[in-house]
Symmetry: C2
Subunit: 409 residues, 2 copies
């Protein structure tokens, strides 16, 4: 992997195995000249419930379309993730490649084709060389159970500078259930979809409709509340697998333990989403933007995203510049209700502007100190209503230009 | 001015005077330590028709609000442009500053306050030091008629690396009328409004309603079809003044000469808009994006802007990388109807992808050669309908980061 992001966590978390899930990784050699693992195979026990959310892109990859077709059955026995080649925009050949890998996985796991889910990430426009996967899948299958979540997180990475994982637990009816998740993503990270690849595994027993509802809600406040560059991938997918090996069945939010499980799920999704931002291409600062007082939550989100995606705000933060004028600009361009004379803006704990102008006697020293750090907190209050949102993003630095003016992704 | 953009025109155009317009520039010392001219005063003969378009920002500056209030009367005797301080988000003090400058201009030109228009551009959040303008406005007024359009273009500039001007003429009823325009802009350039500051002057006689209609239409295909960074200024304004000193009155598009005049106006707006993009912060390449086959013109424009504002597309072009996969991504994220399998993409004259995949036998050599140049042409065909749009933008380079991570604008 390239040099680790300065915002990366100290180490990969310690994640316990999830009963009913077996992992293996292999080297198909899709794209990279090196010999790193680029194929993840996961096997689930019969009866595993699967739910997922995928990109809203109108140019989704064949793997995304594959998942969209199969997810409504809420049933999975296997997952194959290919990294280094997204297989997006590859026409009939790309579709055929996905079908070959899906069929081989079904044969090797001895299950119906409809119970296999697929993902791919990496270069766009080059048909996935399925033969390279087929060469190794039998060997990989023989190794099921040997890979850790960290191995899996590494195998699904592309431009990531560190593997991303998170774990949590919840008590349901006296039983302790576990959740573990992995994700990848660094660039082409943007709102309005399930961002990039994320896979979450639990041994809990949850009814498909409830599990799906929980994932949609957890996704909204995690993966869908981050942005690196405002660019939405053709391959974004988040899948959640519940093997049902532990605890009583959860069917509705009022069941004992359902809130605890949902809380643990949100914790994992938010942790993974933050890790993706912390690995944002070229990122040197992690930025939290809290918008309040908007006319609605959706309006607050649009305003927060307008700030988070503004190149002028992101470069100002990169330069440790308390340039609240650019925040005003980004609020103004969002196309949402805003009243200049009710607006207030905060950096860290210091309100720098309110009621349409700079605060009298505003002392820039503590603000400058906050902006010298690498955890930046921006608050915007609209003074119009109760709508609120919290967005995570990173700054825009020379590192982003270096990575993207040279890398064919 | 900073080092001239590599995309700048060779020189400022030769522009003839416009009868009924007198210009003067002065040094108020709003912001810059140097001694450059930062105040433009224009005087118009009585009866001059004025029309304008302003930013859609919800946080517009007091000068923009001033213009919005006065433009409906379609009448102007004077214009004051302050550069180095936008006076935006400065509360009551900023509003008072605008009022003082407006009142002084009215007194000096001997006209009603309602016939003065104001603009300001530069740093946000610092109340405009009106006293500095008042100190020099009497002297500047005494110099009316001494400044050229080039002097005026320089006086309204901030981070611009070259002064921007364009001229054209049209024959109306046997009379030759002239149009001259100046503009400024380099960063915080984005769609959906009249972008940045532009002032256009003509000696033609045009009825207010027709003149306004022509400006709105010309603006749509010029200033509103460009983007540098997707960031919309709080101060954007384009004003058009017709002194009525030459030729017969134009009242409707069917009048002889109306189309010639509109064509000349479009030419100037498009020329100035291109110059703003060519001076885009850090720009090293001028990019034209042509979208066709969309379900509507408006859908084509959104798709074109999605491509033009994508940091991944802009950095790929900066790196001379024929990365059409990122163009696919930007089409997919636009939120507009698109069918991956009907999409085709062209770089220069070479179609690289069609019907959802790379063209068989695609030769990257001529495409790479095109991308090594500094005039890049990207074509996207959706294959769905007749909607079309043409967007101008520039690439995203280290220069943008250098300018914006350090400059307090």
């Amino acid at each position: 992997m390239p040099e680790r992001s300065p915002l990366a966590p100290a180490s990969f978390p310690s994640l316990s195995d999830i009963e009913g899930v077996r992992l293996a990784v292999g080297h198909a050699g899709y794209h990279y000249a090196d010999t790193r693992m680029d194929l993840l195979l996961a096997e689930f026990v019969p009866g595993t419930v699967a739910v997922g959310v995928t990109t809203q892109s109108a140019c989704a990859s064949p793997e995304v379309e594959w998942c969209r077709e199969r997810l409504p059955s809420h049933n999975a026995r296997g997952l194959v993730v290919s990294s280094g080649n997204s297989n997006a925009f590859t026409g009939k050949r790309g579709k055929a490649a996905a079908e070959m890998i899906g069929a081989e996985a079904a044969r090797l796991l001895g299950c119906d084709l409809e119970k296999i889910l697929l993902s791919a990430t990496g270069v766009i426009g080059v048909p996935l060389p399925a033969a390279r996967a087929l060469n190794v899948m039998e060997t990989v299958t023989a190794q099921l159970g040997t890979a850790s979540f960290e191995d899996a997180a590494r195998a699904i990475s592309t431009t990531d500078t560190f593997p991303k994982g998170a774990g949590a637990a919840a008590i349901i009816g006296g039983a302790r259930v576990s959740i573990a998740g992995i994700a990848k993503g660094s660039g082409m990270i943007a709102p309005d979809m399930a961002t990039m690849l994320g896979y979450i595994f639990t041994d809990a027993r949850v009814a498909p409709a409830l599990l799906h509802d929980m994932l949609v809600r957890a996704n909204a406040r995690s993966f869908n509340s981050i942005t690196v560059d405002g660019d939405t991938s053709t391959s974004d997918t988040v899948l959640l697998f519940a093997t049902g090996q532990t605890g009583p069945l959860l069917e509705k939010m009022t069941d004992p333990g359902a809130h605890a499980f949902y809380g643990a799920l949100c914790e994992i999704c938010e942790d993974l989403a933050q890790q993706i931002v912390r690995d944002g291409e070229g990122a040197s600062k992690f930025i939290t933007i809290r918008v309040s007082g908007a006319v609605s939550d959706s309006s607050a989100r649009k305003i927060g995203m307008s700030i988070a995606n503004s190149p002028l705000v992101k470069t100002a933060i990169a330069g440790s510049d308390a340039n609240w004028g650019r925040v005003v600009m980004a609020v103004g361009k969002a196309g949402e209700p805003a009243d200049r004379d009710r607006l207030s803006i905060r950096f860290g704990s210091v309100t720098v502007a309110q009621q349409g102008e700079v605060v009298a006697g505003y002392d820039e020293a503590p603000v400058a100190k906050h902006l010298q750090g690498d955890e930046i907190d921006i608050g915007v209050s609209l003074g119009l209503g109760d709508g609120a949102a919290r967005i995570w993003t990173c700054d825009l630095t020379h590192g982003y230009i270096i990575i993207n003016a040279d890398y064919r992704s």
